[in-house]
Subunit: 212 residues, 2 copies
């Protein structure tokens, strides 16, 4: 079995000790770096012979820079590192901010040491592990939104909108829907009135953002 090179950034001494005791005494892991802030962690990496690290357990609430805002800096120093967030926060904002910054897993601190170990090993195998409640929030991001029913636009108008979003000119829309270009103009004027906008650009933005 390959030995996994670990790092931990955590400011709570109790949690840190617990993680150190658990991972430090296991032959599967080589706990190479421990730090209590992103700043000091980065300092430890900015040496002549930086350690090789596979996985980082990273807290969010830290003195100085937060774990999330520190991710870019860390990935800058270690592009290949896999970052597992380990935090008490469960709000969607922080979860998505962390994932968007490049974290690959997200665990709540209620997670048992056994499960944290499981997550670390899963990640080292190229997978990802998330706490069930976190995973639920993530999948809900994709789930079909409760339709904001479009009372403002008619079916025909939505057809026109789609054509515009597809990049068609008035002339092409007229050809495609087999109506006159003047009719297209009229439709679009009505659409603009209904949405309270006055340019193709705004319409495309609204449509791509799912507002229409």
């Amino acid at each position: 079995m390959e030995i996994i090179n670990l790092a931990i950034v955590e400011d709570d001494p109790i949690v840190m000790e617990s993680l150190q005791a658990y991972f430090g005494n296991s032959p599967q892991f080589d706990l190479q770096v421990c730090a209590n802030s992103v700043e000091s962690f980065c300092q430890m990496l900015a040496v002549a012979d930086p350690p090789t690290l596979d996985i980082l357990l990273l807290d969010i609430q830290l003195p100085g820079m937060s774990g999330i805002s520190g991710i870019p800096a860390i990935r800058d120093l270690l592009p290949a590192i896999n970052i597992i967030m380990l935090t008490t926060f469960e709000d969607s904002d922080k979860i998505f901010a962390a994932l968007c910054a490049g974290a690959c897993s997200y665990l709540t601190k209620q997670t048992s040491l056994v499960n944290i170990k499981e997550a670390v090993m899963t990640v080292s195998r190229g997978g990802s592990y998330m706490s069930p409640s976190i995973a639920r929030k993530v999948v809900e991001y994709f789930a079909p939104k409760p339709k904001k029913v479009n009372t403002v636009l008619t079916d025909r108008q939505l057809e026109i909108v789609q054509c515009i979003v597809d990049g068609l000119s008035y002339k092409m829309i007229a050809a495609q829907l087999d109506i006159s270009i003047d009719t297209v103009r009229t439709h679009i004027m009505h659409i603009y009135r209904a949405l309270n906008i006055n340019s193709k650009g705004e319409l495309i933005r609204l449509s791509l953002e799912g507002e229409v």
Copy 2:
């Protein structure tokens, strides 16, 4: 412990038997409905006294309608059901299609029965479980993309792009950036050249899709 009302839609008799044997003999579960296609499953629900179902294990590759395209129909009949995809497919397209349709978990068929049970119970507790390799693909959806085109645009050009995405006209951009409208035109012409496009619409689409 609450009993979990289960349904299974699976056309492979071997897999089905294995699941039936496992969940049918466990007191925690009430395996209420088994079907080998979405169509027959929906028929079983279209009765005077439809069963109460908490969780559905759903295959993708099925005779007739695919599992993914069947999700909307199923959710129409049972809005509260939690759908766990159970399939051999691991391609991102299918994963995201299933999640966007409203599935809450996604397991590969390599998943052991014990882990499937774990997933079912996790979901019944309001969480979500995904196979590690699936979870990885999901988090990679959020991860920062390797920078692409935006190396071809200068800072100033990105400013202009932002203004256009915000729905400003050339005139308004000129006013906002305090430059002449001719300069705005020149910038935009260069931007179009750099991105190989030729309209505001395409630019807005690229920008909103994160390509710039």
